[in-house]
Subunit: 395 residues, 2 copies
Amino acid sequence: MLTLEEALRRLLARAQVTGDEEVPLAAASGRVLAEPRVIAPVDVPPFANSAMDGFALRATDTPGTLRIVGEVAAGSAGLIEVSGGTAVRIMTGAPLPPGADTVVPLEEAGESEAKVTVPLTAPETYVRAAGSDTPAGTEVCLPGVLGPAAVAVLASLGCDPVRVRRRPRVALLSTGDELVDPGLSLRRGQIYDSNTAALTAAITEAGGEPQRMGRVPDTREAVENALRAGAGSHLIVTSGGVSVGQHDHVRGVLEGSGSLDFWRIAVQPGKPLAVGEIAGVTVIGLPGNPVSALVTFELFVRPMIRAMLGLSGDGRLHLQARPQELIRKDRERRAFLRVYVWREAAETLARSTGGQGSAQLRPLAEANALLVVPEGEEAADPARTYEAIILGELS
Amino acid sequence: MLTLEEALRRLLARAQVTGDEEVPLAAASGRVLAEPRVIAPVDVPPFANSAMDGFALRATDTPGTLRIVGEVAAGSAGLIEVSGGTAVRIMTGAPLPPGADTVVPLEEAGESEAKVTVPLTAPETYVRAAGSDTPAGTEVCLPGVLGPAAVAVLASLGCDPVRVRRRPRVALLSTGDELVDPGLSLRRGQIYDSNTAALTAAITEAGGEPQRMGRVPDTREAVENALRAGAGSHLIVTSGGVSVGQHDHVRGVLEGSGSLDFWRIAVQPGKPLAVGEIAGVTVIGLPGNPVSALVTFELFVRPMIRAMLGLSGDGRLHLQARPQELIRKDRERRAFLRVYVWREAAETLARSTGGQGSAQLRPLAEANALLVVPEGEEAADPARTYEAIILGELS
């Protein structure tokens, strides 16, 4: 069995960054810039402007009482000139009129009829110089995944549309003759397919574009045809069919018609994970048990999709958390225990959300973190802290 | 000036939970269940099944060598009966055949021709009883916002479609005659409108459905018409027009034609925030400065949208972080400083991402957290820790 690190290293070595595409700025949030460094094409702000509603005037005229000779609103094109002894009413964001070198805010100005009395004021007070936020030509670095603030920066530079990484197309197929779509009735021996819906959501959340290939009958031929059909995508993810049973064909097809890089890793849950390729496209074969499938998705598929977007790591927050009770695990494997974590004083505490079996889905849905307990230990021990991978909201 | 708590209390008192709608399970991730408690309509698993690939048999026959009388695959409907001295080959997930009460996994079984030698095995070993994950009738609680694991649970219960909260429709309008859409050329006195794109992204991220009402000319009539047009939505968010300038009409229209609950709050950035209503719909008037607009969105609009979805709080992780240097602020107001935080040993450290002025967007885009420094303090002090609201990925 490979360690997690070795398996992940071998998987990520296969990642190729996807191409790029142009999208409207309005659709760019959540996407990854094709080129994270943007050269500012304009000064931001483009002209010297007032930071306050007030009066634009000459600092050398202060303190004093000045004649109000006009007004300049935000968006004004034609500007009134400020000469000695005069002031111009100005709005926040409006261009500083020629001749003026400072701004006195309304709150500090005493206005009466067409005159304003102002206190001693230094030059450049409440004036935002042209380019004071970002001079044209600046190399602007934005975070990997665009959020509202990065979108605002791109907008302030006038960038629309923007070039972003293509979302990796991830072909998703699940095997298992016992599986039925939710919403239909179960016949004897059948269960609902939870992996297709859950992995579709997980692929989207990781930044990929799921392509559902549907469920495949448990025959070698059907599995091989489905894998070959998936090879038009950037990545193929399967669930089920990677264990040691006679009907576990995914691994067999990789060995026979593609190549199998490795299978079996020392993690709990999720031991029977298989990685290989067919027709030049990487295949990640997840276990069929729903908990194993989602946990190994988190550990392998999510970092792989991110690597294809040019991002590193899993994008999750990792905290140190202390279990509130002993939680048993398999001694040989690294465990990813389903826990609920919360902050209490300076500490992060964790409790098991229920049974840790690989078919027990509810405890995973109630968990907001995975607690990582190393190989060689028999349980998570309340006397120490462990790494917790935060998956959901903390209360 | 109101404190943040008082302003937020008054705002959230206006929140009404939206109605619900049915969506396909495939579209349910990221949504909020209309009813967070689901009564399991079926046993999960629906029948006793094998947790391993191996042999189904009678525990009383172990240890011993048994005759293999058939095979049961996952999805099998017709079952072979296991009688004394016999075993049936079984796949993971396949229904336990009548007569069998335990499973010996392949790894522990010695197979030769049509016989299998098995060690002493207790009853119920590697058997998942019907309903062992979730018995029918169980009240299943799922997290507020559905993620892949909650989708898996709903799928395993057969739920498709599912009833979720309607996304609150949030009418978004921005004021400012100086604003131009990104992608166009700037004329003298003009700047790019960054709030529309950024707030659209932020509304979506918070769980709302943005409805862009466009930019409104700086006249009282235009602002009033736009606000009335927005009253078909669940919430109206404006940016700009809430300060003390002559062209700040949002507040004026609320006072004259609707009602103004409060404006001016003791936060930095974002003092001139206005809350009121028009035609029975709550209006949140954000400041026009892009940093102020996004920070006050985070503090007010995001919790408001979540409250309308039936969720509490801001859904962000809050950590204690220690600034690496003194970061100055306004003594009177609570500051939300733009910082980059990272984990180092057991501590979370923070550094300022640049100028803390309310028009300086780049430092907000480079920040992954807001550091909360209370009223009455002149700076964030490296000698202590402060609450940090985590907005982005930590490295």
